[in-house]
């Protein structure tokens, strides 16, 4: 045996010098992991770790959460407000007052000249719920434009729309604990190991304890597809056909839950009539899944005592996104899998607080899942805010994806972007670039001043990031979790909530209203709006309001490591310390009659299909090491190094035919534009498809079409057609390097 030095030296290990841990909720995706930020003796955030006793992540974090302490001092942080007259002029730094005055003045000028709705606000899923609520109060109650939406239209709008159409309200009914109970899991267009690693781990833990069938529907052989018991390699955009065919088999073979259908569902007859068209023989030809497999999966799902469906962007980002969600809901309603342990329709959400914006930001309605269309709701909110209800429009304005065409058409003249980066995230970026140039005034509020959209701003407002401020996020399973401020905002940056209140005071109307001093006070105001009391009406079905957070306090949330709503004051009074795991367990839905709606969902082929000129499907998605447009992860070496530049996956057989070699650049061309990417040859993708991670600036969205879903207005990012052109390698390398400024 060899032991080296006889007299051993002491061992020296790296010591980051953490002296204190501060509680927070991870600010990347919607899994909602409880995280602790380690502060050194100088109070600097030096590391993070998962919270061991938190139910969501049980001590685990993914790559992004593990390296998250580095986002505070990442390059490109906005250090002070910036201002300029024209977008081609250099930036001047200025005081906060000057930047906010200019913003308010320009908004007022443009609204006076072109009308109230000529100012548009596009927000995010990144900021705290209290800040969303304050932004909504500012936009709906003070600025008064109806063209106000979140970038959640790019990721979750179809889920929201589908939930509303099926159940009468938004709100994911399931939870992660369902994995522990389900007997069959069907995942549509969801690559959990890359997108939501911690949810994947929860699933894996459940599977290690008790095996149940996992079926993954995905055109790519993702790690999840590879680990699935059954992988359905579907033709892009045709999930609705598969879902209708599954329903067809279930009804045809009498496998439906008759009792549940009778007691809790409307619309069965119309739905049944429609799915009769989708026999597996017919469906197989469209969706590319053979008829036997369709029947097999349908039987497996219907016969399971409890079965659940999860989905992500594969469903949402398509022209039938909303219909796809409704069809998943149909499937679960006809099999009686709703609101029971292991039986649910669980949309796996995107951003850390996509749920917060859906619940409280007022962008597609009014706070607490209220609707602009409902007069009572308008009155309730107006009363709490102290504004005239007539200020509220009686129907929703433009969605994010309609705001840009309205700018293009000259109807909108000013745009306020809050923590979103459409230059990289919107489909057809050549068109977005042209659109943004047309604005008379654009203000970008972001933590990172190198976000590409800042190129088109006249004012830049530096926002504080994550635990530089306090507030709540809601996760995919409706869990409200808190982030405590662990350090002061970077340089001159300010919490977004502060920016909103300061801006509000620049309007006469704003000065007349009450604005909370702290996030916790805002939270108290939201609690008042969340429950049915003397001021507020109960839910549409007569039961107490569903999105009820009145039993929560910041301390209770932290103690419980997050509370799932509804968590009513009565729950708190009864001494409950956990929230509500599932919605609709009582079979009561949010339509006035309390029943869910089964919908007849015809499939119309409207995608840009591969053709002779553009023979490849262009599919896009995410990789585990990056978050959205890389403004954070692109600067963190221990994330970015795993994919520091854009690439595409292409099938080696197709590549051979096209003369494309591994690790060489190609130029992809679509009907919108072109993009330079490195080719990665892999059998993970089919012969007629290329796959590109969407995170990179000037890449996949130079090519994508983004046809809109008619209900949710969400773009179909994943279905368009491209062709491959050879390019000069040295020139392409130069271009590629130039695109990667971070």
């Amino acid at each position: 045996m060899l032991f080296g030095r006889r007299k051993k030296n002491p061992i020296k290990l790296a010591d980051k010098g953490v002296m204190e841990w501060k509680y927070a909720t991870c600010s990347y995706c919607s899994v909602g992991c409880s995280i602790e930020i380690g502060l050194n003796s100088e109070g600097r955030a030096v590391t993070t770790r998962g919270v061991g006793g938190a139910d969501v992540n049980r001590g685990k974090l993914c790559i992004k959460g593990l390296s998250e302490a580095q986002i505070f001092e990442a390059s490109g942080r906005g250090s002070e407000p910036l201002i300029r007259g024209k977008i081609f002029e250099p930036w001047q730094s200025c005081a906060w007052d000057e930047a906010l005055d200019k913003t308010a003045d320009e908004f007022k000028r443009i609204q006076e000249k072109y009308g109230r709705d000529a100012v548009a606000v596009v927000s995010t899923g990144q900021i705290m719920t209290e800040e969303f609520y304050t932004l909504g109060k500012l936009v709906r109650g003070v600025i008064g434009t109806n063209n106000y939406d979140g970038n959640t239209t790019l990721c979750m709008a179809s889920a929201v729309s589908g939930y509303k159409r099926s159940f009468g309200s938004d709100g994911p009914p399931g939870c992660y604990d369902d994995f522990e109970h389900t007997e069959c899991l069907l995942a549509f267009g969801s690559n959990l190991p890359e997108q939501h690693p911690i949810i994947y781990w929860r699933l894996k833990e459940a599977l290690d304890k008790r095996k149940f069938p996992v079926i993954v529907v995905d055109p790519r052989v993702t790690m999840f597809a590879q680990f699935a018991d059954i992988h359905l390699a579907i033709t892009p955009g045709t999930d609705l056909v598969l879902l209708n065919a599954l329903a067809h088999v279930i009804l045809d073979e009498g496998l439906q839950d008759v009792e549940y259908l009778e007691q809790h569902c409307n619309g069965f007859a119309q739905m049944r009539e429609l799915v009769q068209l989708y026999n597996p023989v017919y469906a197989a030809k469209i969706c590319g899944i053979d008829e036997d497999t369709i029947r097999n999966v349908a039987r497996l799902y219907a016969k399971a005592d409890s079965a659940m469906s999860i989905w992500t962007m594969g469903i949402n980002q398509s022209t039938h996104g909303s219909d796809g969600v409704c069809a998943i809901n149909n499937l679960n309603l006809i099999t009686g899998n709703m609101g029971k342990p292991g039986g649910t329709s669980l949309s796996i959400t995107g951003q850390c607080n996509a749920m917060g914006t859906r619940e409280w930001s007022s962008c597609s309605g009014l706070p607490g899942y209220r609707q602009l269309e409902n007069e009572n709701h308008r009155k309730e909110v107006a009363a709490v805010w102290g504004v005239d209800p007539a200020l509220f429009p009686s129907e929703r304005g433009l969605a994010q994806t309609d705001i840009f065409p309205a700018i293009e058409a000259g109807e909108i003249k000013a745009l306020w972007l809050v923590a979103t980066n459409p230059m990289t995230s919107m489909a057809n970026s050549p068109r977005i670039r042209k659109t943004l140039e047309k604005l008379e005034f654009c203000v970008v509020q972001d933590s990172y001043q190198d976000a590409e959209s800042v190129q088109y701003a006249h004012v830049f407002l530096p926002g504080a990031v994550w635990a530089e401020k306090e507030g709540c996020f809601t996760n995919t399973e409706r869990r409200v979790n808190i982030t405590r401020a662990s350090q002061p905002p970077f340089a001159q940056s300010k919490p977004d909530g502060w920016i909103f209140t300061q801006l509000a005071r620049r309007w006469q109307r704003g000065r007349a209203m009450q604005w909370a001093e702290t996030p916790e006070q805002t939270f108290e105001e939201m609690k008042r709006l969340s429950c049915a009391d003397g001021v507020n009406s109960p839910g549409a079905n007569g039961s107490p309001r569903m999105l009820d957070i009145s039993g929560m306090t910041y301390d209770k949330i932290e103690r419980a490591r997050g509370l799932q709503w509804p968590f009513r004051e009565s729950d708190a009074q009864q001494g409950k310390v956990v929230g509500t795991a599932r919605l609709y367990s009582d079979g009561e839905f949010q339509f006035p009659d309390g029943k869910a709606r089964l919908l007849a969902l015809p499939y119309i082929e409207n995608n840009e299909l591969p053709c002779g000129d553009f023979p490849f499907w262009l599919n896009s998605g995410r990789v585990v090491e990056h978050f959205h447009t890389r403004t954070k992860t692109g600067k963190i070496g221990n994330c970015n190094k795993f994919s520091p530049t854009a690439y595409m996956e292409i099938n080696p057989d197709a590549a051979a035919e096209q003369g494309v070699e591994h690790m060489q650049y190609v130029r992809l061309v679509s009907r919108r534009g072109d993009a330079i990417v490195l080719a990665q040859l892999t059998q993970r993708v089919p012969y007629n498809m290329v796959f590109i991670p969407f995170h990179f600036h000037e890449c996949v969205n130079r090519l994508s079409l983004g046809l809109l879903d008619p209900h949710s207005r969400q773009p179909a990012f994943k279905q368009s057609a491209v062709r491959i052109e050879a390019c000069d390698q040295a020139e392409a390398a130069r271009t590629n390097a130039a695109m990667r400024t971070f």
């Binding site: 974090l61 190991p193 993970r684």
Partner: protein, 641 residues
């Protein structure tokens, strides 16, 4: 199964002594999966080694960051191991990142890396991820190879721990390790590696990477203990090097059936093919096609100083031995110059060349000022012995030079020393010369032993010895000829006898190297290891360069035979002969430099598969070429050295 009592009161001492919450990271709500399980163990491992390395009572404090207290871990005397389940790994990088956070690593360094291999045809495609760090081997070749004794294998947990404060950054451990575990940080000029998170082990916690695993793929415990929920503890996995090299403490589970061929996405021209016995073996993956290229620019690598070091020292040794031995043998052709003015100059050149070589090898170090640590591990490291041999060679050659001065004709024309002094000097010169010769042979032998690395199959062949010896003989004799022939011309004496002997010697050197190369190329062509891939690169990427080198070698050999024959027939004389000689010398020099550069750039280690970007040599080079590597967050040091 019982979890370790991580809050044993005796641990209070550790908690009191530590300076921050970052080391010995104990927390109140520690989940069960992060805790080590105390389940007893076998006595010996599958290699026949003992699992308890000492008795528990014999273990000592690891004195981690000044904490003298000893952990209560009842298994701390036993060899621990990582357990990797390839069926479960999702390639999510959580292990790597948890490690980097724990060890505060810059992006360009990672103690643990995840790569993958893939196979099959859509949609029956399979990707197998491999997460790999240090395997804390039973036979730690890093420890044996390290000249500075920076490595220690501790009885506590069997951890192999490297101390960057001792390391001088030669990178030899990164050559010998088959798993790419030691990481050479060219920015910091030192090596660092996985430390098994011994602080966590001391308090009953699994290493940071294991606790962070999101696929339930990584586990950790006493070696040969099958972890909870696992069925296999195999020592082999497709893509993993032969465990016989180091007896690594890692165990695998891989039960899903894989396609017959698994390819690497990185640029290494290696794939893994299933054999009749179900094991996968490396084979050539013809990624670079079959076309032959020159690629002169790519001959240059961060090992350039070693090209000069080896060639300069070999030439010097050859020159010295040629002159000294010839003088002792009394060869009339060569010994005429033993007493001439040229002899001390030639020996001075020997010392100069050796000095240059040693200087080049020193600047190759990450921390050149620590060069003196290069002799710390004479017991095990061929690097130490090589260095010592060469240093002693230089010293004795120098002493030989001084001692032979009094007898020199030029000196004697100024001073006439008494015979007794002359005799003493002559015997000192003789002894020193013999010692220098001995040191040269020792140095040369260990120089060769340095390259007999199992993790680098292209080098692990006797051809390394024949090339080094051939070069020593050939280059030494060539340089002797280049010095002596002009001197003879100046003195208007006949040099044909001299040139005949020396050309014959050079021809022998070339023949020796040539035979070695021929046998080596045949062996590599048919090998089922990374050496075959190296040979494939040799004949494609550098195909034209390789051909040119071989042809030149042949021509040189023929020229020298012709020269030898011409000399023996007295057909050569005057400046014409010198010109011919110089022509051949230039060609020999080019062949030597090209050959040695090829030797370094061609080697493909047995390291683990990389990914498309991370640990992909071709991408690393590309990122440096286009300036992407200038961004620190790309995780590459802009220029190797």
């Amino acid at each position: 199964m019982t979890s370790m009592q991580i809050f044993d009161p005796s641990l209070d001492k550790i908690l009191e002594q530590k300076n921050s919450l970052s080391v010995f990271p104990v927390r109140a709500d520690e989940p069960d999966y992060a805790k080590l399980k105390n389940v007893g163990s076998q006595e010996s491992n599958c290699y026949g080694g003992s699992i308890p390395l000492v008795t528990l009572e014999e273990t000592e404090s690891l004195r981690i960051n000044g904490v003298e207290a000893i952990g209560e871990n009842p298994d701390r005397n036993k060899q621990h191991a990582f357990h990797f389940n390839a069926d479960n790994c999702i390639g999510c990088h959580a292990c790597e990142t948890a490690c980097s956070e724990k060890n505060d690593l810059p992006p360009h360094i990672s103690f643990r890396s995840v790569g993958y291999i893939e196979g099959g045809t859509y949609p029956s495609y399979q990707r197998m991820n491999i997460s790999m760090a240090c395997n804390h081997c039973d036979d730690p070749v890093c420890l044996k190879g390290c000249p500075t004794r920076a490595y220690t294998k501790h009885e506590e947990f069997g951890a192999v721990i490297q101390d960057p404060d001792i390391c001088f950054g030669c990178g030899y451990c990164t050559w010998v390790c088959p798993y790419n575990a030691p990481q050479l940080d060219t920015e910091a000029g030192q090596v660092e590696k996985c430390n098994m998170c011994v602080d966590r082990l001391e308090v009953g916690l699994k290493p940071a990477c294991v606790s962070a695993c999101v696929g339930n793929a990584l586990d950790f415990g006493v070696v040969e203990n099958t972890p909870e929920g696992r069925e296999q503890i195999a020592t082999q996995l497709p893509g993993f090097p032969d465990p016989d090299i180091t007896k690594p403490n890692i165990r695998f589970e891989q039960s899903s059936s894989l396609p017959r061929e698994m390819a690497r996405t990185d640029s290494a021209p290696v794939k893994y093919v299933r054999q009749a016995d179900g094991q996968f073996k490396p084979a050539i993956d013809r990624k670079e096609g079959t076309k032959k290229h020159w690629n002169f620019a790519r001959l240059s690598s961060r090992e350039n100083p070693l090209v000069l070091f080896t060639l300069a020292t070999q030439t010097a040794m050859g020159l010295f031995i040629t002159l000294f031995v010839a003088a002792q043998l009394g060869s009339p052709a060569l010994s005429v110059l033993a007493g001439s003015a040229l002899y001390p100059l030639a020996i001075l050149l020997v010392c100069g060349l050796t000095g240059l070589g040693l200087f080049m090898s020193t600047i190759h170090l990450g921390k050149p000022m620590r060069f003196y640590r290069g002799f710390n591990n004479l017991r095990h490291s061929p690097v130490c012995r090589e260095g010592l041999g060469i240093l002693l060679f230089m010293i004795f050659a120098g002493l030989h030079l001084i001692a032979s001065l009094p007898a020199n004709a030029v000196i004697q024309s100024f001073v006439v020393l008494p015979d007794s002094v002359l005799l003493t000097c002559n015997s000192v010169a003789l002894v020193c010369g013999c010692l220098a010769t001995l040191a040269a042979c020792t140095g040369l032998y260990y120089m060769y032993r340095c390259y007999r690395i199992k993790a680098r199959p292209f080098w692990d062949h006797w051809q390394s010895a024949s090339a080094f010896t051939g070069n020593t003989i050939g280059l030494g004799a060539m340089l002797a000829a280049v010095l002596l022939v002009p001197a003879a011309l100046v003195e208007r004496s006949d040099y044909s006898a001299l040139l005949m002997v020396l050309s014959a010697l050079v021809a022998v050197g070339i023949a020796l190297e040539g035979i070695g190369l021929l046998v080596h190329s045949r062996a590599m062509k048919t090998a089922s290891h990374e050496g075959a891939a190296s040979h494939y690169i040799q004949t494609t990427t550098f195909g034209k360069t390789y051909c040119l080198r071989n042809i030149l070698m042949g021509i040189n050999f023929l020229c020298l035979l012709a020269l030898t024959a011409a000399c023996s027939l007295n057909l050569i004389s005057g400046a014409g002969g010198l010109l011919m000689l110089l022509g051949v010398a230039v060609s020999i020099f080019l062949v030597a430099v090209t050959g040695r550069a090829l030797f370094y750039v061609l080697v493909i280690p047995t390291t683990m598969p990389g990914a498309f970007f991370w640990k992909n040599k071709a991408f690393e080079q590309h990122a440096r070429d286009i300036g992407l590597a200038d961004f620190p967050q790309v995780g590459l040091v802009p220029d190797g050295h």
